[in-house]
């Protein structure tokens, strides 16, 4: 089963455990500047929203890359940057409609979420289940369940 990161922003408290987990997983340090998931704080609305790559099926970044440095991991479906091939041209950062692939000045390469080989550290670290890792074909299951729960079955039972 292929799985996807699923984000329910209404549950996010803005603790940034996901950002620390991401940078630690990929770089061995706790460093928000190196996180591939970012939490945005819309202060005046009281909303906090985690945001990262959705792993597009037809990935703009992958199609735009002139040196084929971005490839699909067959097991996870993640679009993964091969740093050995990446030349740091940044065309993918322009191509991505969502801004989720970014240049890393320290390495001279781009980086993006690679789903941590199928065990995303952000989802594991999230204390409120705002970020979960679920069946790609059923990312809507929780929402469906919630609405299903509101269905009024009383009328039929009494009919």
């Amino acid at each position: 089963m292929q799985k996807s990161l699923h984000i329910d922003a209404s549950k996010c408290t803005g603790c940034l455990q996901c950002e620390m987990a991401c940078s630690y997983e990929n770089y061995g340090v706790f460093n928000l500047a190196k996180s591939r998931i970012k939490v945005f704080n819309f202060e005046h609305e009281g909303r906090k929203v985690p945001y990262t790559c959705t792993q597009c099926a037809e990935a703009w970044c992958m199609n735009a890359c002139p040196v084929d440095a971005i490839a699909i991991n067959a097991a996870t479906g993640a679009k993964v940057v091969n740093e050995a091939v990446c030349v740091g041209c940044k065309v993918c950062t322009i191509a991505c409609p969502f801004g989720t692939v970014n240049y890393v000045a320290d390495t001279g390469k781009v980086q993006k979420c690679d789903l941590c080989d199928g065990h995303p550290a952000c989802a594991e670290a999230c204390p409120t289940a705002a970020i979960t890792f679920v069946d790609s074909d059923w990312t809507g299951l929780d929402k469906m369940r919630a609405w299903a729960g509101k269905t009024d079955t009383a009328a039929r039972a009494s009919a």
Partner: protein, 615 residues
């Protein structure tokens, strides 16, 4: 390392910024944050110094767990000699600023001297420089954050600043970071203002790495988080209701100080409680509470984000206050509400916004308004002096006085002195509900006896965050003790004080201690920090910090006489509730406490005690 091993020394008089290595010998004895910064402070500053003179210093400090995924590992503290108290001050704040400072590579910043003109400190990793702040002076903390972020074209900068209260010499001004988190008490923001230091802006992209044993640390941090999630207070009560979960609980206990401590129960407590924040308003059908909010790294998320009722008299025609913003915490709701008999939730939220926006402590402000209302009701301060009628319960007076205090207008100037100076000025010093010049927080010590000893002996003046025996006396953490008796409270207070000093020095939030004992913190510290951090060593560190602070206060001129409560709490019994008929038994607890501490009858640490602690 858990420590970056680097401190930044900023000479505001000369305008210089210099990096220095951290004293690692001291780090082993005082851990970090509160302990370590206080060690630097007492080693460099004359205890007799005038808090508002250039000779006073101000330290912003992180702990070894700040900037790590240890739950709540984002704390920082401001250490100085308090403007309100003249005692050692250490005010702790969450938000994101502390972690950012650590990510920039600094354990602490020591500010000394006084800048000839308003400045702000700009830190970008290892680069630090003072910049002109003429355009920021006179601005609120919110405007200051926005202006600095715009000027640097970087929304990811984190900022701590003072508002107009800190500029205007309000003696309980705070340092506000991330819009609505604050190093709140004792007037640390007043000291910052006296130095012409408007703000500290930080962008840190270096991160925290090289912990002693990262694998063991991640395991210990995860285990700690599990304990927090499984605990009724940190896993359910605080996330669901915030600290406001206490309003109805403490009122039921007859320990909610009301109308300047005349009463111990507030008839309108429910109207200003967490439950009320979650109810739909009749005016607009919306709830006051918008969202829960966590500080950096916090898996509890007690913070509240609220929206004020746009039709409330305080904000009609003021759309700048209509957005989501920092919501009421229990202490603020009590001080702005019960302490002066105001049961209007929206009015409290407005006053709270003003406190955040212009940077002053809602506890001391609210309690000072309470004292002023009593003086008004006694006919000692007249309507003409205040500029309005100000009886207990007046929401209008509360809101207007908040604004006047922020900008130092009219009677607001007098409220800005705090209740001790205000009441002394009008010949009624006994009406100030304070210890060492600092106002009580939200627990009446007639109904929770241990808190009387906590307040009387707190090194930074009356405060609940130095030994929160409410945990034991009300919630049964770690063991239930009877709130109505004095027996055993000396030992309890000492144990809480010493343990709290360790939490405050580690970089984590004291709220974890509802679920964590030192035994939960120890494995996290030991895995993160160089050295062998045993339970025994941590216990010693806590006691050492407490005695170091005590020594500073004694040298500053405080005596056993200052370890006392206002006469009201010792002579006027609680009128209602479970504590009806009781006064606080401080005179019984104090000598026991001194003995437990290894201090003499005058409250001076004995030679043996000091020697044992290496002081």
């Amino acid at each position: 390392m858990a420590w970056t091993r680097k401190i930044l020394r900023v000479d505001l008089s000369k305008g210089t910024c210099k990096a220095e290595p951290l004293n690692m010998e001291w780090a082993q004895l005082y851990l970090g944050q509160r302990g370590l910064a206080t060690k630097y402070f007492v080693s460099e500053v004359d205890p007799k110094v005038d808090p508002l003179s250039p000779a006073n210093k101000l330290i912003m400090t992180t702990g070894p767990l700040t900037g790590t995924p240890a739950s709540t590992g984002g704390r920082y503290s401001v250490v100085t000699k308090g403007a309100l108290t003249g005692a050692i001050a250490c005010s702790n704040s969450g938000g994101y600023f502390g972690a950012e400072l650590k990510f920039a590579g600094w354990d602490m910043i020591i500010f000394e001297g006084k800048s000839p003109k308003p400045v702000y400190l700009w830190i970008e990793n290892d680069k630090a420089e003072l910049r002109d702040a003429a355009h920021l002076w006179g601005k609120t903390t919110w405007q200051t954050e926005e202006t600095i972020k715009k000027a640097h074209q970087d929304p990811q900068i984190r900022i701590s600043s003072i508002g107009r209260a800190g500029e205007n010499g309000v003696l309980y001004a705070c340092v506000v970071n991330d819009l609505h988190r604050a190093a709140g008490r004792s007037g640390v923001g007043t000291v910052m203002g006296s130095k012409n230091l408007k703000a500290v802006a930080v962008r840190g992209t270096l991160g925290v790495g090289n912990l002693k044993d990262p694998k063991a640390f991640m395991a210990a941090a995860a285990a700690g988080k599990k304990v927090l999630a499984g605990n009724a207070v940190t896993g359910q009560g605080l996330p669901t209701y915030g600290t406001q979960v206490l309003m109805n609980v403490i009122n039921e206990m007859g320990a909610l100080p009301t109308r300047n401590h005349r009463d111990v129960q507030f008839e309108d407590a429910r109207k200003i409680s967490a439950e009320a924040m979650r109810e739909k308003r009749p005016t607009d059908g919306k709830t006051h509470l918008v969202a829960n909010s966590a500080c950096f790294g916090c898996t509890i998320a007690c913070g509240r984000i609220s929206k004020i009722d746009e039709t409330h008299f305080s904000v009609v025609n003021k759309p700048e206050y209509w957005g989501a913003n920092g919501g009421l915490e229990y202490e603020a709701a009590w001080a702005l509400g019960a302490a002066n008999g105001v049961g209007d939730l929206e009015a409290l939220q407005y006053a709270n916004l003003i406190c955040n926006e212009d940077g002053f402590d809602p506890i001391s402000f609210g309690a000072t308004v309470g004292a002023a209302m009593e003086l008004f009701e006694l006919g000692i301060i007249k309507k003409e002096q205040i500029g309005m009628d100000a009886p207990f319960g007046s929401a209008k007076a509360l809101c207007e006085l908040a604004r006047m205090t922020a900008v130092g207008e009219g009677f607001g100037k007098e409220l800005g002195m705090g209740s001790a100076r205000l009441c002394a000025k009008y010949g009624k010093p006994e009406l100030s509900m304070s210890v060492k010049g600092q106002e009580f927080p939200a627990y009446d010590s007639r109904g929770i006896q241990g808190m009387g000893l906590t307040y009387a002996t707190s090194n930074r003046g009356a405060c609940h965050l130095r030994s929160y025996t409410v945990a034991s006396e009300v919630l049964g953490i770690p063991v239930k003790t009877d709130p109505l008796v004095t027996e055993g409270k000396a030992d309890l207070v000492k144990a809480f004080q010493d343990a709290t000093a360790v939490f405050d020095s580690a970089g984590i939030c004291i709220f974890t201690s509802f679920a964590w004992s030192l035994a939960d913190v120890q494995p996290q510290l030991d895995a993160a920090c160089e050295g062998n951090w045993t339970m025994e060593k941590l216990g010693e560190v806590g006691e050492r910090i407490w005695n170091m602070e005590r020594q500073f206060n004694l040298a500053a001129g405080f005596t056993a006489k200052d370890d006392d409560l206002p006469p009201r709490l010792k002579t006027e019994p609680a009128k209602t509730g479970p504590a009806k008929g009781l006064v606080n038994g401080i005179d019984k607890m104090r000598p026991e406490y001194y003995k437990t501490r290894g201090w003499d009858a005058q409250g001076v640490p004995s030679k043996e005690t000091l020697k044992r602690l290496g002081l």
